[in-house]
Amino acid sequence: METAFIVEKFVLITIVFVLTLVIAMYSTLAERKVAGFMQDRKGPDRAGPFGILQPLADGGKFFFKEEIIPAGAHKALFIAGPTLAIITACISSAVIPWGQELTLGGRTISLQVADVNVGILYIFGVVALGVYGIMLGGWASNNKFSLMGAIRAASQSISYEIAMGLSIISLIMVTQSLSLGEIVAQQTGFIHWNIWVQPLGFLVFMTCAFAECNRVPFDLPECETELVGGYHTEYSSMKLGLYMFSEYINMFVSSAVMSALYFGGYNFPFMHDLGLSPNWITSLGVLAFFLKIFAFIFFFMWIRWTLPRFRYDQLMNLGWKILIPLAIANIVLTGIITIISDVYFK
C-alpha cells in the first residue's frame, strides 16, 4: 500500500462520486425533458439554453425552502431516513468496473474502485439496505400515509429482491464468478455479452431493478394518487431533495449494473480489431459504458411515461407468482443447457 495507490484510488473515488452526482442531477432535467417530449411539449427550457441550469435552480430552491420537522416525528430517525437513503445509493457504485486498466507513466490504474470478489453480493446487500432509508423516513414521520408508503416500499423490495437474486444465480452459473470485474471482462466484443445467453434472466432482473428503484410502474411507495406523497409526505426542503436525488442515483447505479452484467459493460463491438493502443481502448470503453448507462436511463424514463402504475395486488402477483417461478425456471433451463453443451459440444 504505497501512497500512490491511495492517491490514485482517492482520485478515482472522487471522480466516480462527482460523476454520479452530476448524472443524477441531470437525470432530473432529462426526466422532465423526456416527459415533455413524450407529451408533445418542450419541457423546461427557461433556465439557461435548453434548460441546462434547471437542476441548479431546483437545487437552490430546495436549499432555501423552509425545513419542517413535524411535531410528532421521531427527530433523529426523521433525519436519518434521507441520509441513509443517499448514502446507500452512493456507495453501491464502488464495485462497478468503469473501464479496463489505464497505463499512465508506467503505472497501471484499474478503473474500478474496489474489485471485491463478491461484488454482486455487495451490490445486493447495499440495495437491500436502501429500503431502510425509505422505511425509517416513513415511520419516523408519524403520518399514516408515510407509513403506508414505507410498508409498501419494504414489502415490495423484499419481494422483488428474491426474484432478482434468483435471476442473478442463473447469470452466475454462466459466468462462474461473483466478481463484477471478472464478469465484465468475460464479455469481450459483442457476441460474448451475457444478454445473448440470459435473455429471460435479463428480463426478470430488469423488472426487479425497476421495482427496487421505486420507478413507474412500481412506484407504489410514493403513489401520489392515494398516499399524498408516500414515504416522503412530511419531508420538505433538502431532505426531500435527498430522497429524490437518491432515487435518481439508484436509477443510475442500476443502469450501470444492468449494462455491466448483461450488456458487456465497457466492452464494445470490434474493440480488438481496430488496432488501437490499450489506453485508447480503455477510454473508448468508458465512453461505451456510459452510453449504455444513458441508454438505460432513457429506457427507465421511457417506461415511466408509457406505463400506468400497478395496483398493489397486481404488483405482488407479478413478483411472487410470475417473476419468481420464471427466475427458477431460468435457473433450471440454464443448468440443463450448460450440461448439454458441456457433454456434447466440447
Binding site: M38, D40, K42, I303
Partner: protein
C-alpha cells in the same frame, strides 16, 4: 352487456402490449411540439380577435369620438364611463365634432370584449383591434383612460418624407 373474453397467452404476459405502448410514446417523442415559447414567440391573433379597445382618429388626426354615449349605453357590462365637453374655438384640429369626450374610461376588469360598443358607435370611433389586456397588480390600473386607449396620431409628414 359487454362480453369479456379471457385474455390469451400474449395478452397475459403484457410484454407485447408494453412494446406497443412504447412505440406510441417514442413516436410522440420525435413529433413536432405543440408548445409556443411565449415571450419570445407570440401566437398570432386571429383576424377577428377582439382585444383591447382603441379610440380612433380621422385622416386629419382629430379624435372621432363625439361622446354620444351609445357605447356606454350598449355595454352589457357597464364598463365604459365618459364625461363629455364642448369643443372650444381653436380646438378644431383636435376634435372632429363639436362635442368630445374629455374623459373616456373603460374598466378592463368589467369589459367582456363582446364588441357591442364598436357596433353601436355611429362615428366609427372605437374598435377592439388591440392585443389582449396585460396583467397588472392593482384594480385601479385596469381602468384605462384616454392616455392608453387613444390611437397614436398618424404622422403624414413622416410618411411624406419616407416616400421622397
Amino acid at each position: 352487456m359487454l362480453e369479456q373474453k379471457p385474455m390469451n397467452f400474449w395478452e397475459r404476459i403484457y410484454l407485447p402490449a408494453i412494446l406497443k405502448g412504447m412505440k406510441v410514446t417514442i413516436r410522440h417523442f420525435f413529433k413536432k411540439k405543440a408548445t409556443v415559447s411565449y415571450p419570445e414567440v407570440a401566437r398570432p391573433y386571429s383576424k377577428n380577435y377582439r382585444g383591447m379597445h382603441s379610440l380612433k382618429r380621422d385622416e386629419a388626426g382629430r379624435e372621432r369620438c363625439t361622446a354620444c354615449g351609445l357605447c356606454a349605453l350598449s355595454c352589457p357590462a357597464e364598463a365604459i364611463t365618459m364625461i363629455a365637453a364642448e369643443r372650444k374655438k381653436g380646438e378644431e384640429h383636435l376634435y372632429r365634432e363639436e362635442k368630445y369626450a374629455a374623459v373616456y374610461e373603460i374598466n378592463m376588469l368589467r369589459c367582456i370584449f363582446c364588441g357591442l360598443c364598436e357596433e353601436a358607435c355611429p362615428k366609427e370611433a372605437i374598435y377592439l383591434d388591440g392585443p389582449h389586456v396585460p396583467a397588472d397588480y392593482l384594480r385601479k390600473d385596469f381602468i384605462y383612460g384616454k392616455d392608453k386607449l387613444l390611437e397614436e396620431k398618424f404622422d403624414f409628414k413622416l410618411v411624406d418624407q419616407l416616400e421622397q
